[in-house]
Amino acid sequence: MSDKRVQWFKFASPGNFFALVEKLLPWLWAAAIISTVAGLYIGFFVAPVDYQQGNSYRIMFIHVPAAWMSMFIYFILAVYAFITLVWRIKMADVLAVSLAPTGALFTFAALWTGALWGRPTWGAYWVWDARLTSELLLLFLYLGYMALHAAIPDRQRASRAASLLALVGVVNLPIIYFSVKWWNTLHQGASVSVSKGASMDSRMLAAMLLLSFACWMYAIAVSLTRAQAETLDRERGATWASSLAAAQAKEPEGDVETTGEVPV
């Protein structure tokens, strides 16, 4: 009955969500671009050369944030999946679906930059290290989620089935990680140690934190943009969507007569 409750769910309504995102997006994109430029500048021109790894360590500035995001986005996706299954809030599924490609992209970026870093540092593009292997499996979990969502024609069934899969995946993720870690120590012994020993230069840390922030902003901005498109696609029959389309159609060409219906 209280007003606070109503406020909570206000943005779960597609129309309100769309309007809110419309206001937020310019700020998010601006924050993402500015922090990327600043982070890259500090990373390339201000941060000193590493005495052991030379310049190749600089790829860490993007590698580490990407690896963080890859795991964190999967967790958020699972939270939205849970909301989809339990409360059947439509927007939760829209957000989960919109997060998945970004998460997969970051997972791929983490693997790719890791390989480029590993070649000069370890002497190999790929090592069957526990972290690398579980990151690769995480990529498959993302791909599985997206593939299942895309494979089911009925939208409601697709969203609920994929949500269930995401939850199964998030329960399994730690088990996979520990089993792979155990497998690695059993089969190879610790061949590589990623620990870098002493503390980091403050300028390196600044670049890393700035680019982490940039990755956050980018992830939020791009998935909200995707969520907007997804919302429009799903709600194309709704009144708010048609009035929006009518308003947008009017803008460039002046007085254009619209029927209030969105072309399908």
Binding site: L141, G144, L186
Partner: protein
């Protein structure tokens, strides 16, 4: 007990799986051929064969399990039996468990029974062969139980074979690691007990959680 609905259901599922004999035979045949490809593709050297034996047998078992999943629910979904079963008064997760148990008896147990012969082909010795069979005995039910979730999620979709594989293989990694590690440990004269215990724990956890999840997936599929 004879007339208990769940027992009747078990008899029915088992009879249906057994009557599609060619399906069960195809799975066993696939397993044998897949295992035979490893010496051909890698090396017939006895030492190398011994090293790859646990992995080869386990990977073949894993793919055989995935291959067998395709018709686990789809026939009953197509003719509406599944919906009627879900509407009945019996607990859904137990019904799924019954189905999976019958399925494992037809497609999983033969692999366990054949594994000692394959172990000998790969040059494994007495105790190693026993541990291989035991690890499969504990592990293949886990594969089938997890597979039930994948099969339930994709039931009735066209060309779901590749999709199921993509969904399930990441989830199968821990079982594969534990199963092969148990055999490898025996080869290096260490006790496989820890691995087998963990496999057993995985089996117990899967017995409780997987049918429940698969039942939820079936409700989504038939919704």
């Amino acid at each position: 007990m004879m007339g208990h609905p769940l027992y009747v259901l078990f008899r029915r599922d088992l009879a249906l799986f057994l009557r599609r004999r060619q399906d069960a035979m195809a799975i066993v045949g696939f397993f044998l051929v897949a295992v035979a490809l490893f010496p051909l593709g890698i090396s017939p050297e006895p030492e190398i064969l011994r090293t790859i034996a646990p992995g080869a047998v386990w990977i073949a078992a894993l793919f055989s399990t995935v291959l067998a999943l395709e018709r686990l629910f789809s026939d009953d979904l197509a003719d509406g039996t599944l919906e009627q079963q879900l509407l009945s008064s019996q607990p859904q997760n137990v019904m799924v468990l019954v189905r999976l148990a019958a399925h494992w008896l037809v497609t999983g147990l033969p692999l366990v029974l054949l594994s000692p012969v394959i172990g000998l082909q790969f040059g494994l010795h007495g105790e190693e062969v026993a541990v291989l069979a035991l690890s499969l005995l504990l592990g293949t039910p886990v594969l089938v139980l997890l597979g039930g979730i994948g099969a339930a999620l994709t039931a009735g979709l066209h060309g779901s074979g590749g999709l199921v594989t993509l969904l399930l293989l990441p989830l199968y990694v821990p079982v594969l690691v534990l199963g092969t590690a148990a055999v490898s440990a025996t080869m290096t004269q260490t006790s496989p007990e820890a691995h087998l215990s963990l496999l057993g724990a995985a089996l117990l956890a899967a017995l409780v959680l997987a049918p429940w999840t698969a039942a939820a997936a079936l409700r989504i599929t038939t919704d």
